[in-house]
């Protein structure tokens, strides 16, 4: 199996990239690290003879802290995010997503934008972006727009992006005091794994009343897209931050928030059971961090 031939464009500005995308429309594919695109092309799952690489656009790979938020460029790689001090200090769950994606070689190329645009239900960075309530930054020749990450994924491989649009980055609000977040991926081995299930949780609590002010729980690999466990989130709002509550959240997430399917990586029943276990564990860990 050989990689088919294609024409490669390497624009150096977002403007040029947008113009190219507009010109070629659906015949052209955007490429960041290429760790999905090139594999799919080689396996003849997708076809194209024009590729627009985004890697020469410097600003797309920046990670910037500004005021109350951090802006992560679409082309920031896993390796870069893992090493970034602001990600390490303030977005531990995202760091853990990035640390665990693929292998060293892959992490040096794989980008966060690529991970989201590839929109695999098992993608590693997506639950973390969801629990930090990220905003997706989108541009086209017609202008800019933003959409909440919650509404970005539409199905396996399908996102909110229109043909002529490019994802330029993510805005993540700096998490408040007394909050914590945790991400767990479950696979068969310890590295280079494609998740059987993956869960991220964020939790903010009131140190006086010891109750949960706010939580976000994101589940991967159990639906057509990564999803928020809304029933579980609602249920524990205002409840005491303790093991029982986390267990109930897990049970609710398992029973009411997800509808996994069987595939060769794991059965629906196991996935569902693990949603319970991992939701509880991620909430517990988030709480410990928050204290």
């Amino acid at each position: 199996m050989l990689l088919p031939e294609f024409e490669l464009h390497e624009p150096v500005s977002i403007e040029d990239a947008l113009k190219l995308k507009k010109k070629h429309g659906k015949d052209a594919r955007l490429m960041a690290g290429g760790t999905d695109v090139l594999v799919l092309l080689k396996k003849k799952v997708i076809f194209t003879d024009t590729i627009i690489s985004l890697l020469q656009i410097k600003e797309l790979s920046q990670i910037k802290e500004s005021g109350n938020e951090v802006v992560i460029g679409a082309c920031a790689t896993m390796a870069q995010l893992s090493k970034s001090s602001v990600i390490k200090e303030k977005f531990g769950a995202l760091k853990s997503s990035c640390d665990n994606l693929g292998s060293h070689l892959i992490r040096n190329r794989a980008t966060i934008g690529g991970n989201c645009c590839n929109a695999s239900p098992a993608g590693d960075t997506m639950p973390s972006l969801m629990i930090y309530d990220a905003k997706v930054m989108i541009e086209s020749t017609d202008g800019k727009r933003e959409v909440s990450i919650k509404n970005f994924f539409k199905g396996p491989g399908v996102t909110d992006l229109a043909i002529h649009e490019i994802l330029t980055g993510f805005k993540l609000p700096i998490p408040p005091k007394n909050s914590g977040a945790h991400y767990i991926q479950l696979g068969k081995r310890r590295s280079s794994e494609i998740n059987v299930v993956n869960v991220g949780s964020f939790l903010e609590y009131d140190p006086d009343t010891k109750t949960i002010i706010n939580s976000r729980i994101a589940l991967g690999s159990v639906a057509a897209t990564p999803i928020r466990a809304q029933k579980a989130e609602e249920l524990i709002k205002g409840k005491p931050a303790k093991e029982d509550t986390f267990y109930t959240a897990g049970e609710t997430a398992r029973k009411e928030d997800c509808k996994p399917i069987d595939d060769f990586r794991g059965s629906a029943a196991y996935r569902q059971a693990m949603i319970g276990v991992l939701t509880k564990r991620t909430l517990q860990a988030s709480f410990e961090q928050a204290q």
Partner: protein, 787 residues
């Protein structure tokens, strides 16, 4: 004890510099002037009649030089064992699995060849297909081979002693059924080859194979050529694990394409094709009943096994025999019966893989031993020691343990793992388990029945003196055999390792059955030692004559001649040597006569000094049907302890530590022995924990890449404490025997037993995915809750 100078050291491997610098040449690095590229058309259907093949469009494509089908190359049957030649290079009437070869193309580029393959039109009539043993043995199941009714490749019925009686006399009886999943060899280097004819009609096939000799014979037979006109060469190889131990259809197609085009032709499997071709470990289902006395003495073993074989026999007949015969040890077991069935179906053929045939049987049996030990209240180590064979013992099926350091292995892992302190004292979720195993040190017979030597070696001394050139047709496949043979040659000849140059992997160098069944160190090692001694005796004979001293009074050691009479005057010989090197500034002035001088003098007297060596096993016993599979000149044995952590909530298992002891006889190269031990643990772990080839319901491999077929990564590998136990094998060169396969035997059962210790669950199906372990834990909790 005998003193050694070269063997039993940690000498650097001969291939390290090439491999460390990236200069090692593998098949795919080789390019020839005018070389064409070949590609195969393989069946997209698991079972279908081939109604017609139209190659017209493919042949028209510019750059295409040949398109071949069975019409062009004939239908000479071949396979692994002559008793089951059930393959042809290209299919004739029907395809039997997704991947069956239909046609091959040679073109000026791989792109063109692949394009041409797409242009070949094949009309199929789809036939019903079967993918499991259960479906394949049904009365009305579609038949895969005309000749082998009931989809049976082979069946085995054996009984030694009286099993029924033994079971009746037992105080405790355990029956369990254990199954594994089909493996993939997953070697780094995919199969590849280059075939080339010279103008005189001689064929050279350069191929990534473990067995140049078998490939040579098969190629000659299928192409209808004299064996002498076929040369098979193996460059550096990125492993094989058994899968590359026979000719593959690509090699044969490549030779035909080279013949047709009169150009060198290169072909490679892609990773997907490696999965399609398979020939790796079978899926086994073992049902084993073991009977023991109250005191733990093993009395009888009743064993039934089916093998999910795939579309062709490959090594399957040997596999089905090994699966039974290798349970007769390492414990004393007077009564054993075995019923084995190897079944065809419409999946790729399985064959031989590290620990051929015996790995899952061992896993099932060693798990049962632990169940018996627990019920009798005996420590698992003690139970094993109690029943262990020792040196000189013979199993009920005639396997003789001419050396056997098994109790030493058990002692070593007991101490090395701190077993006595840990066993029974670990918290829930943590566990420790052990198991033993043993394996042949070379198959007693070639895969084709013959009186051939299993290995011949030739050593030539350079005419100028001082260097020995060792020629062996054996196969260095990454395991370090070249280094081992150079070390054996150096030791036997009495020269430093640096005085040896070695070439291998070329059928022009002699006969060697190749790298499989853990045979080379013992067998090729013997032939190497034999050749070195032959050379040495010729050199010493000349010295004896020249110095008028009996041969018995001299020896060669470390590159010097040792005379019993230390004042013996050899100055005349030295003068002769120095005269030969007039003007050279580094002439010898040592107190002792050097090997350089001696070998030059020998040449001056006799011409080129060439020594030959050979080896084949003596008759190894066993008169019953199937005795040829299992009997071996020697058996390596091992014990392992695994420590695990089981996440009781998710079922994830982490292997924390492995302590591994193996008796390899005398270790030729210590580091290589440890390398084989660690490699075995990693492969055994993969099979235990996550490796399995998964198919869809049409016979396509779903996980045909190394992202979805899950090998053990560096992150998963625990610390392995490898302890080399050295017995002295009377049938081995310098006392050496195998380590390459025996070392994998205990890994899976040690893990299974450790998981039981940690989580209280016995698991009878591999791999131990989190899901399988989780489900077992849930069922266990429910049972306990109900009770």
């Amino acid at each position: 004890m005998k003193e050694f100078n070269t063997i039993r050291t940690r000498a650097n491997r001969l291939d390290s510099p090439d491999k460390a610098t990236g200069e090692a040449i593998y098949v795919d690095d080789i390019s020839k002037p005018g070389m064409l590229f070949g590609a195969l058309l393989q069946s997209p259907h698991a079972h279908a009649k081939v109604l017609s093949i139209d190659t017209t469009e493919a042949k028209k494509l510019p750059g295409v030089k040949a398109v071949l089908t069975s019409k062009d190359v004939g239908t000479i049957p071949y396979g692994v064992s002559p008793a089951r030649y059930d393959e042809t290079v290209f299919v004739t009437d029907k395809v039997r699995y997704v991947g069956d070869e239909i046609a091959a193309v040679a073109a000026t580029s791989l792109d063109i060849a692949l394009k041409a393959v797409e242009l070949i039109r094949v009309e199929y009539e789809i036939l019903p297909a079967v993918f499991t043993v259960e479906d394949a043995i049904k009365e009305d199941a579609p038949q895969i081979h005309e000749k082998y009714k009931g989809n049976l490749t082979a069946e085995v019925h054996q009984e030694f002693g009286d099993v029924e009686k033994g079971l009746k006399e037992s105080d405790i009886i355990k029956t369990t059924t254990v199954k594994n999943k089909r493996q993939d060899g997953a070697f780094l280097e995919m199969q590849g080859c280059i075939a080339e004819f010279d103008r005189r009609g001689n064929l050279t096939l350069t191929s990534g194979t473990q067995t140049p000799h078998y490939v040579q014979r098969t190629v000659a037979m299928v192409l209808g050529m004299d064996i002498g006109k076929v040369r098979v060469k193996k460059p550096y190889l990125g492993a094989g694990f058994g899968i590359k131990a026979a000719a593959n259809p690509m090699e044969l197609a490549c030779c035909f394409l080279a013949k047709e085009t009169n150009k060198p032709v290169k072909m490679n499997y892609t990773r997907e094709q490696v999965f399609m071709f398979c020939r790796a470990r079978h899926q086994f289902t073992h049902t084993i009943t073991t009977g023991a006395k109250k005191d733990g003495t093993l009395v009888a073993l009743k064993h039934e096994c089916t093998l999910d074989g795939g579309a062709y026999s490959s090594f399957g007949i040997a596999t089905v025999y090994y699966a039974g015969s290798l349970l007769a040890g390492p414990y004393k077991l007077p009564n054993m019966s075995y019923e084995g069935f190897r079944v065809y179906n419409n999946k790729p053929a399985c064959g031989a893989q590290r620990g051929h045939g015996a790995v899952i049987a061992r896993a099932a049996f060693e798990q049962q031993l632990d169940m018996i030990a627990e019920e009798l209240g005996i420590d698992p180590m003690e139970l094993r020691i109690k029943n262990m064979m020792s040196r000189g013992d013979t199993t009920c099926n005639d396997l003789n343990m001419s050396s056997f350091g098994m109790s030493e292995c058990i002692d070593a892992v007991r101490e090395g793992s701190d077993w006595d302190r840990k066993k029974g004292n670990m918290p829930i979720g943590k566990g420790i388990g052990m198991a033993c195993g043993f394996f042949v040190s070379g198959a007693g017979f070639p895969i084709y029945r013959s009186d051939t030597y299993h290995g011949t070696v030739m050593i030539k001394l350079t005419e100028d003196g001082g260097t020995a050139l060792v020629y062996t047709a054996s196969a260095e496949i990454g395991q370090g055999s070249d280094t081992a043979f150079a070390m054996i040659a150096a030791e036997a000849l009495g020269v430093p390792l640096s005085a040896i140059r070695l070439a291998s992997g070329d059928t022009d160098m002699g006969v060697d059955l190749g790298a499989y069944s853990s045979r080379q160190t013992l067998m090729t090692g013997h032939a190497t030692k034999d050749a070195a001694e032959h050379v040495k005796s010729q050199v010493l004979a000349v010295l004896a004559e020249k110095l008028d001293t009996p041969v018995e009074d001299m020896d060669i050691k470390n590159g010097f001649i040792e005379f019993k009479n230390q004042t013996l005057d050899f100055s005349e010989l030295r003068t002769t040597y120095i005269k030969e090197h007039r003007g050279w500034i580094d002439n010898p002035d040592s107190e002792k006569l050097t090997f350089n001088e001696a070998s030059r003098i020998a040449y001056l007297e006799k011409g080129t000094i060439v020594g030959t060596g050979k080896y084949k096993p003596v008759f190894l016993g066993g008169k019953y049907k199937g005795a040829a599979v299992g009997t071996s000149p020697a058996y390596g044995c091992s014990a392992q302890v695994a420590e695990v952590t089981v996440d009781m909530g998710t079922g994830q298992v982490i292997i924390d530590n492995v302590t591994d002891a193996h008796d390899c006889g005398k270790a030729i190269n210590m580091t290589s022995v440890e390398g084989q031990m660690e490699g075995s643990v990693s492969m055994g772990m993969g099979e235990a924990m996550h490796e399995e080839v998964i198919f869809d319901d049409k016979g396509n491999v779903l996980n045909n890449d190394l992202a979805e077929y899950k090998l053990v990564t560096a992150m998963d590998m625990p610390k392995v404490k490898s302890i080399v136990v050295e017995s002295d094998e009377p049938n081995g060169p310098f006392g050496a025997k195998e380590v390459g396969e025996g070392a994998i035997m205990p890994t899976i059962p040690a893990i299974l037993n450790a998981v039981y210790d940690a989580a209280g669950v016995r698991i009878y199906e591999l791999p131990l995915t989190p899901e399988r372990v989780y489900t077992a834990i849930q069922e266990y909790k429910e049972r306990k809750g109900a009770a």
